[in-house]
């Protein structure tokens, strides 16, 4: 497991704070999820109408972790800041590109990204930390580069996150995918990945 030093912006103090990105979700991370995320998600699930409930509020990461740990080609990531788990990501490298100009080439597919409830604008205003999403995308790009996929990525965006992937990360939007609950499929080319790394 490798730990990278990264930084997030604490919106409450307006200070940049150190954080750690791990390229493996460990039992310690899952314990943090269990004691901090899970109770808040349960509370939101109880208090919010079904339509406003976060889609992943019922996911049990401890159980899911056992599923993906046994899968070849999958890599999990955890972002920890100030002693709290700020986000989780799972990628795989067994998916092919759909965009015409890179069709069939291997990509790193972001299976999912989720941030802690206190970092979600729909659950906390303002969210506590900024930068979690782009840090994960940077990690996915780096993973893609490391295995020779030249930064190519793909993912299915949750409905409220399409703007983030299109406008703030530079993905190409390919539209709703009926094989994935009509989530919007987004893809990043080698050039787009390079632009992202330059913070354009």
């Amino acid at each position: 497991m490798t730990e990278s030093q990264v930084y997030l912006l604490n919106s409450h103090t307006n200070e940049t704070v150190e954080a750690s990105l791990f390229d493996e979700v460990t039992d310690d991370h899952l314990a943090l999820w269990d004691t901090s995320w899970a109770p808040l998600m349960r509370a939101h699930r109880t208090n919010l109408p079904l339509s406003d409930t976060p889609e992943d509020s019922h996911w049990n990461w401890k159980h899911k972790a056992n599923s993906w740990r046994s899968l070849l080609g999958y890599q999990s990531f955890a972002l920890v800041c100030e002693g709290e788990l700020q986000g989780l990501m799972l990628t795989n490298d067994i998916t092919s590109a759909r965009l015409l100009d890179q069709f069939g080439k291997p990509i790193v597919y972001v299976q999912f990204v989720a941030t802690a409830p206190w970092n979600r604008p729909e659950l906390q205003d303002p969210p506590k930390y900024r930068g979690v999403g782009r840090t994960f995308i940077l990690a996915a790009i780096q993973t893609s580069l490391d295995i020779g996929y030249k930064g190519r990525l793909g993912l299915h965006s949750l409905p409220k996150a399409e703007g983030f992937y299109r406008d703030k990360c530079g993905f190409t939007i390919l539209g709703p995918d009926s094989s994935h609950q009509n989530l919007t499929y987004c893809e990043m080319t080698e050039t787009q990945a390079e632009n992202f790394r330059r913070n354009h």
């Binding site: 490798t2 990278s4 030093q5 990264v6 930084y7 997030l8 912006l9 940049t16 990105l21 889609e55 992943d56 509020s57 019922h58 996911w59 049990n60 401890k62 159980h63 899911k64 056992n66 599923s67 993906w68 899968l71 999958y74 890599q75 799972l90 299976q111 999912f112 990204v113 989720a114 941030t115 979600r120 604008p121 729909e122 969210p127 900024r130 930068g131 979690v132 999403g133 782009r134 840090t135 994960f136 940077l138 990690a139 780096q142 993973t143 993912l155 299915h156 965006s157 949750l158 409220k160 996150a161 703007g163 983030f164 992937y165 703030k168 094989s179 994935h180 609950q181 989530l183 913070n199």
Partner: protein, 157 residues
């Protein structure tokens, strides 16, 4: 994978990100078999019955959750979640193991747990009837026992 970028990169990145929803994807076990909204509600209905069924079967055999978990080879926490949280999607592996312990067809248990699309006629109606007639009390009553046996019959036929 190692990220080696300066602090300034992340400061600029946080500025670009702003306040944004960033969620993507579904966990691997959901994947392309994730039901749509109406099906999810149906799964929720039958999962209530699934939890009640597990609870009543366990109590009918005088087992506590830990004993059932040990016999099935799954986590005690998972037994408790199945019994008490219909929002929580159980692992397919756990459902197969429980079906084996209960001696009922795993396919129908998977349908009941909302992990596969229901192909069994009236399963949802049977499940709701069972759930409605088997509200848990301290000890298993005759009514509950009859409901449990009737439901086992419905699953096995």
């Amino acid at each position: 994978m190692k990220l080696e970028y300066p602090k300034e990169w992340f400061e600029r990145s946080a500025e670009i990100e702003g306040i944004a929803e960033v969620g993507a994807g579904v966990p691997p076990t959901h994947s392309t078999t994730e039901p749509h909204t109406t099906e999810r509600i149906t799964a929720f209905d039958t999962r209530i019955a699934f939890g009640q069924f597990v609870s009543l079967w366990r109590r009918n055999n005088g087992w506590n959750p830990e004993k059932l978990a040990n016999e099935a080879g799954i986590d005690t926490e998972e037994v408790l979640e199945i019994e008490h949280d219909p929002h929580c999607e159980p692992e397919a592996d756990a459902v197969y193991k429980l079906a084996s312990i209960f001696g009922v067809p795993s396919g129908k248990m998977m349908e009941l747990a909302g992990l596969t699309k229901s192909h069994t006629p009236h399963l949802r109606e049977e499940a709701i009837r069972f759930a409605a007639s088997s509200e848990p009390i301290a000890e298993l009553s005759d009514v509950e026992r009859q409901a449990l046996e009737a439901f086992v019959g419905a699953l096995t036929n």
